[in-house]
Structure formats: C-alpha cells, structure tokens
C-alpha cells in the first residue's frame, strides 16, 4: 500500500470508502444511506464549482483571517538548545481554533442543500462554538451535542455557543464526553435527516465527513507551505511537523501539502492523549497499538475491551478525549508515513507552563500535547532540524482546568 502522489489523501479511498483497504467505510443505519449519498453528490459538485471555492476563500480570508501567523519561538529554541522551533498559530483564526474551516464548509453545504439548521458534536467546545458562529453568520439554526462532563469543564466555549444563539444538547450517557456526543448527534440525524444538515466536528465518521473535514482544514498547510518558502526559500530539509491527534482534523490540515515529501525531508509526528500518568485510561489508540473497531460509521484503531465494547478514556484535554481516531491517521500509521506518540496530562501541563513562561503565546491543552513532544525531542536534535508545532487552539477555554491544576491562569 502506497500513497499516490498529487492526489489529495482524502480522495485516496476505494469505492466503499476505505483507506488502505481497511480503514473507514460507511457503517451506518439504512436510513442514513440516502442522506449520505445526497451529501456526497453535493460536496463533489461544490468542490468542482469555482464560485463555491471563491466564496469559501473569501470567507477564509475576510472572516477567519488568513493566513494565521507562522512564528519562530526563539526563547524556547534557546532554552532547549537543539532544533529550531516554530509555531503555526492556527489559534489566530476567528474563534480561536482550526474548527472554523470545517464549520464554514458545512454551513455552505447546508445552505446549498436548502436545509434550515445544522447539528454537530463537540468535545472541547471549539467545534460547537465555530458551528454556532457560522450558523449565526449564515442565518441557520444550530444544535450542538455535548457530553455533560465536557459542558462542566469547557464553560467559556459553552457560553460562546449560547451567546451565538445555538442550542446545547447535553449528553448524559456513557463517559459523558465526545464519544457520546457524536453517537447522540448521529442518532439525532437518523431521526431528522430530512430537515437537518449534520456536520461531524473532526476527521471521523462515515467517509463523506472525513472528506469534508480534510478538504476544509487543508487550508492550514496551504498557508504554511507559502510561509515556508518566504522564511527559508524552500521546504527545508529535516522538517518535523508536530500536531496533536484526537479525531485528527488539525493534523490532517497541517500535513496535507506535505504527504508527497519523503519522511526524511518532512517528518510527520502525531501526539495523542496519554491521559493521567497513573491511570490506565488513555485516548491513544494509535501510539498504544489498539485494534480496529467500528465506531461512528468507520473502521479505525480504537481503545476497546476483549468483547468489543468501546473503552472509556481520560484526558485533561476534551478535544483529544476520544477512543478512536481518523481512518486517515490509521492509514498513515500503517504505511509508516506518520509516526504517533503520546503525551500524558502531566507532560501537557509542564509543556504549557514552559511555553507560556518563555513565549508570548498561550496554547490550549490540545496543542500543549504537541509542545510536550517538541520539548522532548528538540534537545536531542541539532539546529539544522526545524520543528513546527501546530498551535491549533487557544487556552482561554481551558482557564478553569489550568487554574485548578497549576494554581493560576493569566493571559
């Protein structure tokens, strides 16, 4: 199994929606077959439509604000004394995270489908917030499904969702986190697929949702490749792109222009949530070698028990607190194009502390996992190595968790 050059990775699936013959697919109830077919046709037409792309680019430019900054973290680099460390400040995007790109595409598709409202899931609350912002802008209704545990720990984003006029639907089943929110959102769509447009918040779900999400977040690496040319005159050698991976939407977006480079030239490193150090619960199906499960319509590595029940996960970071991951990351792992590791809660908090002490940036706990990996590997490398961390979310949403854990929070 090999990557095809020059073709977006989201399109490298077989006719049944599988990547590498075994990841992904469309495991859905019969009722959703037609809505998914309709959405697939609509999306394929829209992405070929110049006007659609023009409208989208316009929104990215004037509403999201492109490009997001590409900056050198000189103090962190000096402190660690190894590889040069940069950050792609995707948290500059309107709303504070990469989820805005996917939300815009979904709102545009919802309009085209002549549907009046969208439903979506959220973990960290960023996806819900972005859908609520975009829904308001487009004059659409919006229902956001969110686990009650996440509602408690991500209050700032919940407030934003409500202020934008969207409805939060609390999900109280299972672990009361993202996994349950996605299940409930899909169940809602089963019952209301004639009226509602569903947007899944990450690179997961039935094939079409993986594709729409990857198509949207790819904006990140389209910007980055231009910024690299400006900074270095080329895509530098020994480049390492580090991104946290839960569902895997920001990582795909960060990497999508770089899959065709060989891995010595551009190394792709995904960092999953290892959970609390002493806990057995984690959200790291890729780096801890979980088996394949079918969850939320797709086959992917997933933490599960010997009978096939999905395991509960635990992580300080709501956005990474998901038992499975994207079929695309499973494929990238299998063919060896990306490597995946994990950071524990403790690693993430230490990284957050160090980065905010030395630099004028404030990453959320999701990218704090990526910084933990950068901090780990940078001292072992010399300064001909370039590390770029995707700082894909802003810490403001985590202020309560950070205050509790580290004693204070300041911006």
């Amino acid at each position: 199994m090999k990557l095809k050059k020059g073709i977006p990775l989201i399109d490298q699936h077989d006719k049944n929606g599988f990547y590498g013959g075994k990841f992904g697919g469309n495991y859905v109830a019969e009722t959703l077959k037609k809505p998914i077919d309709d959405l697939t046709k609509l999306f394929e037409n829209c992405r070929k439509d110049k006007n659609f792309i023009r409208e989208r680019d316009n929104l990215y430019k004037n509403y999201v604000g492109t490009p997001t900054r590409f900056i050198k973290l000189q103090n962190l680099t000096d402190y660690l004394g190894g590889a040069q460390i940069y950050a792609k400040m995707v948290s500059d995007a309107n709303g504070g995270a990469h989820k805005i790109y996917n939300a815009i595409t979904h709102a545009m598709l919802c309009k085209k489908a002549k549907k009046k409202y969208m439903c979506t899931d959220t973990g960290a609350g960023y996806n819900g917030k972005m859908f609520s912002m975009v829904a308001k802008k487009f004059g659409l209704g919006c229902k956001v499904f969110m686990g009650t545990r996440d509602i408690e720990r991500q209050k700032p984003n919940c407030d934003a969702i409500k202020n934008n006029g969207a409805e939060i639907i609390p999900v109280n089943s299972g672990s009361k986190t993202l996994v349950d929110a996605v299940s409930e959102c899909i169940r809602y769509w089963v019952s209301n697929c004639d009226k509602a447009h569903m947007g899944i918040g990450s690179l997961v779900g039935p094939n079409i949702f993986v594709k729409i999400c990857g198509f949207s977040t790819a904006q990140i690496s389209r910007e980055l490749i231009v910024q690299l040319e400006e900074e270095f005159g080329e895509v530098p050698n020994k480049l390492k792109l580090i991104n946290c991976v839960g569902g895997g939407s920001s990582a795909y977006g960060f990497w999508s222009e770089f899959f065709d480079y060989n891995k010595k030239h551009v190394e792709l490193i995904g960092v999953e949530a290892g959970g609390p150090k002493k806990s057995k619960l984690h959200a790291a199906p890729l780096s801890k070698n979980s088996r394949i499960a079918i969850l939320h319509g797709a086959a992917a590595y997933c933490v599960q028990d010997s009978d096939g029940q999905i395991n509960e996960t635990d992580s300080c970071s709501s956005g990474l607190d998901y038992p499975s991951t994207s079929p695309i990351h499973c494929y990238l792992k299998d063919i060896g194009r990306a490597r995946y590791s994990y950071a524990t809660d403790e690693d993430a908090f230490s990284a957050y502390k160090l980065v905010t002490k030395l630099e004028e940036i404030s990453p959320s706990l999701e990218p704090a996992h990526s910084f933990a990996e950068a901090i780990k590997i940078a001292p072992k490398l010399d300064d001909t190595n370039i590390i770029i961390v995707n700082s894909c979310g802003d810490s403001l949403k985590d202020k309560d968790i950070i205050k509790k854990r580290l004693g204070s929070y300041s911006r």
Binding site: N16, G25, N26, Y27, V28, A29, E30, T31, L32, K33, K34, P35, S173, G174, V179, D180, S183, I186, R187, V190, S191, N192, C193, D194, R291, I292, A293, I294, L295, H296, G297, A299, Q304, S306, D307, G308, Q309, I310
Partner: protein, 266 residues
C-alpha cells in the same frame, strides 16, 4: 427446506394475522431474568429478537439504550448472549430467535466465528443495524451458507432502485423501518402512509415476509394488521424499566404486555 422463520410466518398467515415479533436485550436486567422473560413472552410471541448490547449505539432510542446499559452494567458478554439463546432454544415454547446488534461486536468476535457460533446455539436470524447493502453481501452469504436468515432493513429514505436491489438480495425476511427515527420514537407518520410504503415493498417481494418496526405500541398495533409481522421493542424495554422502578417482576409484566399486544392483532 423452509426456515423456522418462514414456518412461523406461514403459521400466522393461516391464522390470518400478522406475526408478533418481540425485541428484548440479552442480559436486561440480568442474564437469568432476560432468559426468563424470553421464555415467558414466547407463549404469545411468534418470533423473538434478542439484542446484544453495544455501548456506542448510533440508531437506538432512549428505551433500548437503557436496556443495553443495564445489561452491560451487569456484565453481559457475547458468550453469555449465546448461552441465553442456547438455554432458550431448549425451552418448551421456544420460537425462532433473531440476534440483533451492531457490527462492531461481530467484527471483534470474527464474522465467521460469530455465524458458526450462532448456528451452534440455534440462532435462526441475524440483524446488523449498521451493515447496510452492499457492504453486507459477504456476511449475508455466510449466513445463508449456515442456514441463518440475514434480515436486511429498508427505510422510508431508501430509493426505489436501491429497494429493488436489497429485496432481490434478501433472504426470507425483510424489516421495514416505519419512519425516520431511532428505535422507539413516537409514530410521526400515519399508519396509512406507512402501510402505503410497506405495500410497495411487498409488491417487489411477494415471496418474502416483511415486518414493520419502530414506533409500534399497543395503541397503534391494530392499524397494521394487514402486514406480515410487527416488531415491538422499545415498548417492551420500557416495560422492563418501569417494572424495575416499581419493584415489580418484569417477567410477569412483560408476559402481560405481550399477551395484550397479541390480543389486538388476532
């Protein structure tokens, strides 16, 4: 040779009534109780569906979710589900038994191993909620080879063309989902409209038996007398929840419920 499922439908046809198909979750609320419930309701039911619980269901309504949750909390495993079927099939009033659940559980167990185990314990049919046509072709063949009816689902969103293909590839029983809903939703479409769609399917599949499910209760079941069969699931799961809440014996209550349902379609 006719399948046990076909024979059950045939018997009902002779009696000029639809088959009563029940759905309960294996292990709800305990392994022992769920087996007792099965045995008890089989005096009135014609076919029993038995759910094997999964903790990330994407098409179940709240009632069935509650049942699955109870079963899982009490430690139900697939091996227990098979044991329940095995014990049930030895009982006096045993009816054809259909296992119903999500593909993840089958996938983890191993497709072939799952079907062979089903055959060994006496399972007559299998429904996999999230393995739609055409992805289910191989699994369907595997069932057929082992004399198990693979029951496919049709929904109001299924196009006519797709319907034809599904009907052509289906075994002796088809399941029509009455409306756009998870299980147990309130019937939001008139029985007349549901039957209208239902008879379109029947026209394509004269030789096959088609049942209607989702949203069927004792209040509306009589409206569907002309169908081949009716599935009652969420109402029964709710019956178990209510019994437990009132500290009553679910076995007795469910028996009463199924008896009453049956009386409405005779």
């Amino acid at each position: 040779m006719k399948s046990q499922i076909s024979l059950a439908f045939q018997k009902c046809k002779k009696e000029n009534r639809p088959a009563l198909v029940t759905y309960t979750v294996a292990g709800d609320n305990t392994k022992k109780k769920s087996l007792e419930i099965l045995k008890s309701i089989s005096k009135h039911a014609d076919i029993v569906e038995l759910g094997f619980a999964h903790n990330a269901p994407t098409a179940d309504g709240p009632q069935i979710q509650n049942s699955s949750h109870r079963a899982l909390k009490n430690g139900i495993k697939l091996k227990d589900v098979f044991q329940i079927v095995k014990d049930y099939k030895k009982s006096k009033n045993a009816k054809p038994c259909i296992l119903m659940g999500y593909y993840q559980m089958v996938h983890r167990y191993g497709e072939r191993k799952f079907v062979i185990k089903c055959k060994q314990v006496g399972v007559n049919g299998i429904i996999i909620v999230d393995l739609p046509f055409p992805d289910n072709r191989e699994f369907s063949k595997l069932c057929k080879k082992n004399s198990i009816t693979f029951v496919q689902l049709l929904s109001p969103t299924t196009s006519k063309e797709r319907m034809k293909k599904i009907v052509a590839s289906s075994h002796d029983m088809i399941y029509y989902i009455s409306m756009l809903s998870t299980t147990g939703g309130k019937l939001k479409v008139s029985p007349k409209k549901i039957l209208n769609n239902y008879f379109k399917i029947k026209k394509m599949s004269r030789s096959k038996y088609a049942v209607i499910g989702f949203g069927i209760t004792k209040n509306n079941i009589a409206s569907f007398k002309e169908s081949d069969g009716l599935v009652i699931g969420s109402a029964l799961c709710k019956g178990i929840s209510d019994s437990l809440k009132k500290r009553q014996n679910p076995v007795i209550n469910l028996n009463k419920m199924v008896k009453e349902l049956k009386s409405k379609i005779i």
